[in-house]
């Protein structure tokens, strides 16, 4: 039978679980928050940029298995960084070839990026095969910390938290403490005025899109510790990602964090006391009701248009 101390352990682990799903949601949403929130581009291919990160991790894992055994324990850290670079590079390319022709036509970007996501999925399938693959993760990453015999804290959850903290800080410092951040915010708030003030808005757009994609790639690499790596793996996250961004208020990073936190906590608590499917329905219903009352999302920046 379960004793009081067992119940206490479960409580601790459930609390940690809520926090780690918060981190997962935030990791996914950060990149999109920049692209959607700052630039107004509805990027349906966001999930595929996650997948780029996941496959990058897989490739590096294979490389370290075959040729660089000394890297087996540490390749994962490298993979996170490389994923950022590759996904950002692909993002810049996509921006140059497609997105920049479609600014201020949000519905067209929706359709175009959805098409892009299908194309990317098929490219993954042709390159890596239709079957899922799995990166061999270092053992230290897949274990758990046991502060007491009945409490297991997953190490990959801790890693996810660290990474979330790091990325959020980078984005915040980037947006609010640097000149580049001022330009981005100015462009978001009033593109024409920003241009008149001498800001190269085209360039800002390009880099913001690249950064958003890079963050997605990084998240994708981190998600190999908790999820699958296949051609359509990224698309499993896309709905939740949009949910977080829209619920939080499209243009607010604080909103994005608050939204990820509340959705994760609601979901994780409901899952524990109800069943998985009911929890999902309940969470979505709550979000819909709140969005009906507050269409602008939890937080919004007041701008005179």
């Amino acid at each position: 039978m379960t004793s009081m101390s067992d119940l206490f352990s479960i409580l601790i682990m459930q609390g940690f679980n809520g926090l780690s799903s918060f981190c997962v949601l935030l990791l996914m949403a950060l990149g999109l928050a920049i692209i959607f929130g700052q630039m107004g581009v509805i990027n349906m291919a966001h999930g595929e940029f996650l997948t780029i990160g996941a496959y990058t991790t897989f490739v590096l894992s294979e490389v370290s298995q075959r040729w660089a055994h000394w890297m087996q324990g540490s390749y994962f850290i490298v993979a996170v960084a490389v994923s950022f670079v590759i996904a950002a590079a692909v993002g810049l390319l996509v921006e140059h070839l497609m997105i920049r022709h479609l600014y201020r036509r949000p519905l067209d970007t929706l359709l175009a990026t959805w098409g892009l996501s299908l194309i990317m999925q098929q490219i993954f399938r042709s390159t890596f095969g239709a079957k899922e693959v799995s990166a061999t993760l270092p053992d230290w990453l897949m274990g758990s910390v046991q502060p007491t015999p009945t409490i297991d804290i997953p190490i990959n959850g801790l890693l996810m938290m660290g990474l979330t903290l790091l990325m959020t800080m980078i984005v915040f410092i980037g947006l609010f403490k640097t000149r580049w951040g001022v330009w981005v915010r100015a462009t978001t708030q009033n593109r024409i005025m920003a241009g008149a003030a001498g800001i190269n808005t085209r360039k800002i757009d390009r880099y913001a899109f690249g950064l958003g994609c890079g963050l997605a790639g990084m998240a994708g690499a981190a998600f190999t510790t908790i999820g699958s790596t296949g051609p359509t793996s990224g698309s499993m996250y896309i709905v939740d990602t949009f949910l977080v961004v829209v619920f939080g208020g499209a243009q607010s990073l604080i909103g994005c964090i608050a939204s990820a936190f509340s959705i994760a906590q609601a979901q994780s608590t409901a899952e524990f006391f109800l069943t998985g499917s009911t929890a999902k329905v309940l969470t979505l219903l709550t979000v819909i009701v709140i969005l009906m009352l507050r269409p602008q999302g939890l937080f919004s920046i007041r701008v005179r248009r």
Partner: protein, 412 residues
């Protein structure tokens, strides 16, 4: 004439069964089977060729699973052609892509049956796609060989089910858990759609009514769900003797990786799944599931001469790294079962093939001996395999031949 053909045919049959046992195929001469005779319903059969359809998802979400079936069916057809074809005719394949989309499956099924006039179709994977094409096959009187283990509760004149129906896969596995692992309490987990729900319903009835055990939890998560932390905590709270898991798709990977990271490993917990084959293990990684059990009729590691030959041929055709799961093997049986039925009927006509099918035996099946039941499902064995580090299973248990029972009484 009729007499001569009769004796020839019976001779052919004794030769055929002997050849089957030896693993050598017999070539029939097309001239002995004039097209006008073996094809009275206008199928795509010529003097030298018979056209069949292949209908799987080569693109989209389901391509992950269906690729293996496509490959296995092709391998079987190539082997049949290499040994002389069917009734002296080579098999030609028209492959259509269901693209993981159920209405597309129905449309392509119509195309194959109505404009291509294929003699049979090997195809479908998910129950949803099978349900979508079923009315088409029944209306056009087509023939479908379906490879996936599934929830049962279906039987059609036009479909042969070469995978196991639910009771074949579930009951013996639970019996084993109780007998070998002394399990009394069970936690049932599934993805939220028809197959896991129906299967767990059968499992619950068997646990409660026959095995006198207790189900301490039953949980479903939407397809594509990626966060299993709360579920894992619930498992820790309930402390079941055994977890019975039917999670599918990408969720599968999340589920096992998160179980491992939360310290729920085979050292502490017994887990039996009916939804993880060698194919899924590629994505999950053997190291993330090592020591857990799966209940299937086929494992790639089965140690018998038929299977050795099959695995060798498969790897020669598709690469040394390719793996073979339960459904892939069931896909391989389709063309061979059809061949046996056509040869027994001496005709490609759908009605005659269906009439000839009951009690057809296949001694060359990689899974061992199988026999087609009049209810269009296969008699087959159940095996329990334990996951090993390299992504293969170690076979621990093998049942006797189990009669298929797609409409189990007392389990609905």
């Amino acid at each position: 004439m009729g007499n001569r053909q009769y004796t020839y045919r019976s001779k052919l049959f004794s030769a055929l069964s002997a050849a089957c046992a030896l693993g050598i195929a017999t070539a029939a001469v097309a001239a002995d089977y004039p097209t006008a005779k073996v094809n009275t319903t206008g199928l795509a059969v010529t003097d030298t060729e018979v056209t069949v359809g292949q209908l799987h998802s080569a693109t989209g979400t389901m391509a992950i699973s269906e690729t293996g079936s496509i490959q296995a069916e092709r391998l079987a057809i190539d082997q049949i052609n290499a040994s002389g074809g069917i009734l002296g005719r080579k098999i030609k394949i028209i492959q259509e892509d269901g693209a993981s989309d159920w209405p597309t499956f129905a449309e392509k099924a119509k195309k194959l049956l109505i404009s291509d006039k294929v003699a049979t179709v090997f195809g479908c994977w998910t129950s949803a796609s099978r349900k979508a094409v079923l009315p088409v096959f029944e209306k056009e009187n087509g023939l479908l060989y379906y490879p996936t283990f599934y929830e049962g509760l279906e039987q059609s004149k036009n479909v042969f089910y070469t995978g196991q129906e639910a009771t074949q896969q579930i009951l013996a596995g639970l019996d084993w858990l109780v007998k070998e692992k002394k399990a009394k309490t069970f936690f049932l987990i599934g993805s939220d759609y028809i197959w896991p729900r129906t299967s767990n319903k059968i499992a619950r009835k068997h646990i409660e009514n026959v095995l006198k055990g207790t189900v301490v939890g039953e949980e479903y998560y939407p397809l594509g769900h990626t966060q299993f932390g709360s579920l894992i905590n619930k498992i820790k709270l309930k402390k079941p003797d055994a977890i019975y898991a039917i999670v599918v798709g990408g969720s599968n990977v999340s589920f096992y990786k998160q179980l491992k990271a939360a310290g729920v490993t085979s050292a502490k917990q017994t887990l039996l799944t009916i939804s993880v084959t060698e194919d899924e293990l590629l994505g999950i990684g053997g190291e993330n599931m090592v020591g857990f059990y799966a209940a299937m009729k086929y494992f790639q590691s089965l140690d018998n001469p038929n299977n050795k030959k099959f695995v060798e041929a498969f790897k020669a055709k598709y690469g040394a790294k390719s793996v073979i799961g339960d459904v892939t093997q069931a896909g391989y049986l389709g063309p061979w079962l059809w061949k046996a039925a056509v040869e027994k009927a001496g005709s490609f006509d759908v009605d005659k093939v269906v009439a000839a099918s009951p009690n057809i035996e296949l001694k060359t099946a990689p899974e061992g001996y199988v026999k087609l039941h009049p209810n269009h499902h296969l008699w087959s064995k159940l095996r329990i395999g334990q996951v090993e580090l390299n992504g293969q299973f170690k076979v621990l248990y093998e049942s006797g031949l189990i009669e298929p029972n797609p409409f189990p009484k007392g389990y609905q």
